[in-house]
């Protein structure tokens, strides 16, 4: 589903943040990416989602057999790539419900499916809200404006649940959540698990991985994946820290 080969990316000021990433994710798999602060995890997610401001100087990314890097961000999303933001953006004046419906309809249009009217949409979104235990009032407010940290994360998961992506990249969706919210997020992720879909979770904590069992765990450090393994690697990292991983590499 996703093949990242020797990916190098730098900022406009020339600083290289990603320094040769190799990553292969197959349909049906869940991968976890861990790594210290500033190692380039969010940058990798941003480059995959198509955020401007990074220059890919080397390497390639293929997604569903296509060259991902030539596709604009909105097209990537319509092709089923989803990024749950580490820091979801506040958009004053845009109603959350309207935003979600517009996004879903843009994707449905792209797939040749009929658009949903407000009533049809409401029925679907209500079912998802219930599943994720999210209050309906969140939908009546402007996108992420005045949301608590946990509400923002839940809102990301709600969007994922509505859009049903092929490949979901969750950037620290578990950070700043209380234990109940964490279980909810995990439930949302597990709901998405299927043989046709793949999920990449970026996390600092073993805790999420107790609920969402990864097939592979990778350690990203200074712009490179320095170690990969199964879920036992996450347990070891939790115990011994990244220093040990670096020595082992």
């Amino acid at each position: 589903m996703l093949e990242v080969t020797n990916l190098h990316a730098r900022l406009n000021d020339g600083r290289e943040i990603l320094r040769g990433i190799d990553l292969s994710v197959k349909a049906g798999e869940v991968h976890a990416i861990m790594g210290p602060n500033g190692s380039g995890k969010s940058t990798l997610a941003a480059v995959l989602a198509g955020r401007e401001g990074y220059e890919v100087s080397e390497g390639s990314v293929s997604y569903l057999g296509r060259d991902l890097l030539v596709m604009p961000a909105d097209e990537r999303a319509r092709e089923g790539l989803f990024l749950a933001f580490q820091y979801p953006i506040e958009i004053p004046g845009v109603n959350n419900m309207y935003f979600l419906r517009t996004a879903l309809n843009a994707q449905r249009r792209h797939r040749g499916e009929p658009e949903l009217d407000a009533g049809q949409f409401l029925r679907i979104v209500r079912a998802r809200l219930k599943l994720l235990d999210i209050g309906e009032d969140l939908l009546q407010r402007a996108v992420n404006v005045g949301f608590s940290g946990g509400e923002k994360k839940r809102n990301e998961i709600l969007q994922m649940a509505m859009l049903e992506p092929r490949l979901a990249i969750l950037d620290e969706t578990d950070s700043g959540l209380d234990i109940d919210a964490l279980k909810l997020v995990a439930r949302g992720v597990n709901e998405q698990r299927s043989p046709e879909r793949a999920i990449v979770v970026i996390t600092h904590y073993q805790r999420l991985l107790d609920y969402v069992e990864p097939d592979r765990v990778h350690v990203l450090q200074r712009g490179r994946i320095i170690q990969s393994g199964d879920k036992a690697l996450a347990v070891e990292l939790e115990r011994r820290g990244y220093g040990a991983a670096e020595e082992a590499a």
Binding site: D74, A77, T102, A106
Partner: protein, 447 residues
């Protein structure tokens, strides 16, 4: 033809002077002498001032050369019935729900399209032409009060030529619950001509009403509208102007308001369509503790030019002013906001705040914003803020990252930006109507 001209005449004013002379025969006998007197006096002022030059502060942002070189003379009354096109315009512009409605087609009352039944006792709503006969004192007082200084040459031209308009007169203590809508349409018959309309709203003590004036039309015309608002002590008035003129049309709107003690004016101006659109508001706060809320927005594309001006003059103590203006320009459009707040000596405890926020999208669009505070009292709170910027890149990426196409995402953010100002309109029916017109406009204008 016309009487001996014993005053200096600027060349660009001459065609209008001649037109006035040609019409004088038709006017004679139909109008009271006092009105003819005001018309002649105003024409003389216009002839003397001519068109404002760009050196004049109030006109520095508009290019009037096209108008100056090719006179757009007042259009005569149109014969014939109501066209399908006018009905379509009306259907677009009218509020969805019951309102008292007065429709002017090509600057004159269209009784067949108006709905004036069921007005509460103590409320007079009718055409300006009718008011001149039925309420001469009220109309006269308005002309008396209007100062025709050099900065307002087109208000003078309006006095000389207005054919019709409307008057809303509310007795003290009367509350008009339903919205009042005044709809100005143009059939296109005035091709190359000008339409001069005159409005007057007099709200007695503690009277209350909300009025929306919508402007739309077809063809190439110049609408020159003047409206006076008189709020007696404790009166509360909402006035919304929705300017959605034909793509080739010019629109100048001049609003002059006087506020009595404790009176409250809430104004919103939405500039959506028209080749060159200017709206100027002048508020005189004459009574203590009056409140004035002036908000508005312009949304420009193509080669549109627009200018919103506000002047609030606090002549009495304890007044409050709140202003929020939003501007958006794309393509080769140019917008300008000029906001002046004056606090006269002795007008203590005035509290005034002005905010002008603008989005300039693309390398060829531009917006000027010019706040001006002139404060001659010491115990006052006055502040202003102005910003010109681009769309929030992070927000744009967030929308696109959910699959929303770039163009649509940009429209959503522009709409959200303007919406923040529109939300300040207190009458839900009008607010919804404005939002609907804005999203229609955004959907139809591919930048």
């Amino acid at each position: 033809m016309n009487a001996v001209v014993d005053f200096p005449v600027r060349p660009e004013a001459r065609p209008y002077l001649e037109a006035f002379g040609r019409d004088s025969l038709a006017r004679a006998g139909r109008e009271p002498d006092w009105l003819t007197g005001y018309r002649k006096g105003s024409l003389a002022r216009f002839a003397e001032f001519g068109f404002p030059s760009r050196r004049s502060e109030a006109w520095r942002y508009l290019d009037l050369r096209a108008l100056e070189q090719r006179p757009m003379l007042p259009a005569g009354a149109q014969r014939g019935g109501i066209s399908a096109q006018i009905r379509a315009q009306l259907a677009e512009m009218a509020l969805g729900r019951p309102a008292y409605r007065l429709v002017l087609v090509d600057g004159r009352l269209a009784p067949a399209l108006s709905a004036l039944e069921g007005l509460p006792p103590g409320v007079w709503l009718g055409s300006m032409a009718a008011a001149i006969t039925e309420r001469p004192e009220l109309v006269r007082a308005g002309f008396e009060a209007l100062s025709l200084d050099a900065a307002r040459p087109f208000a003078a031209l309006n006095t000389a030529f207005f054919a019709d308009g409307f008057v809303l007169d509310i007795e003290p203590g009367v509350v008009v619950e339903r919205p009042v809508e005044i709809i100005h349409l143009s059939s296109g018959a005035a091709q190359g001509g000008s339409l001069h309309t005159r409005g007057l709203i007099a709200a007695g003590e503690r009277a209350r009403a909300s009025v929306i004036e919508s402007f739309a039309g077809a063809g190439h015309y110049w609408r020159n509208d003047v409206i006076e608002l008189n709020l007696a002590a404790g009166a509360e008035l909402t006035r919304v102007a929705l300017i959605e003129e034909a793509a080739e049309a010019w629109h100048f709107g001049e609003m002059l308001a006087t506020l009595g003690a404790g009176a409250s004016l809430s104004s919103f101006v939405m500039l959506l369509a028209g080749r060159t659109v200017r709206h100027e508001t002048t508020v005189r706060s004459e009574g203590e503790a009056s409140r004035c809320e002036l908000n508005g927005a312009f949304l420009l594309s193509g080669r549109q030019e627009a200018n919103i001006l506000t002047t609030v003059e606090h002549a009495a103590a304890g007044g409050e002013t709140r202003e929020v203006f939003k501007g958006v320009a794309t393509g080769r459009a140019h917008g300008a906001f000029q906001g002046r707040i004056t606090v006269r000596p002795g007008a203590q405890r005035v509290d005034a705040h002005q905010l002008s926020r603008n989005l300039v999208l693309g390398p060829h669009a531009s917006i000027d914003t010019k706040p001006e505070l002139e404060i001659c009292a010491d115990d006052v709170k006055c502040s202003h803020g102005a910003a010109v910027g681009d769309l929030d890149e992070a927000a744009l990426f967030y929308l696109r990252a959910r699959g929303i196409p770039d163009e649509q995402a940009r429209r959503m953010l522009i709409e959200a930006f303007v919406r923040e100002a529109v939300e300040l309109v207190g009458t839900p029916l009008m607010r919804e109507h404005l939002l609907q017109r804005i999203s229609r406009r955004l959907a139809s204008s591919e930048e």
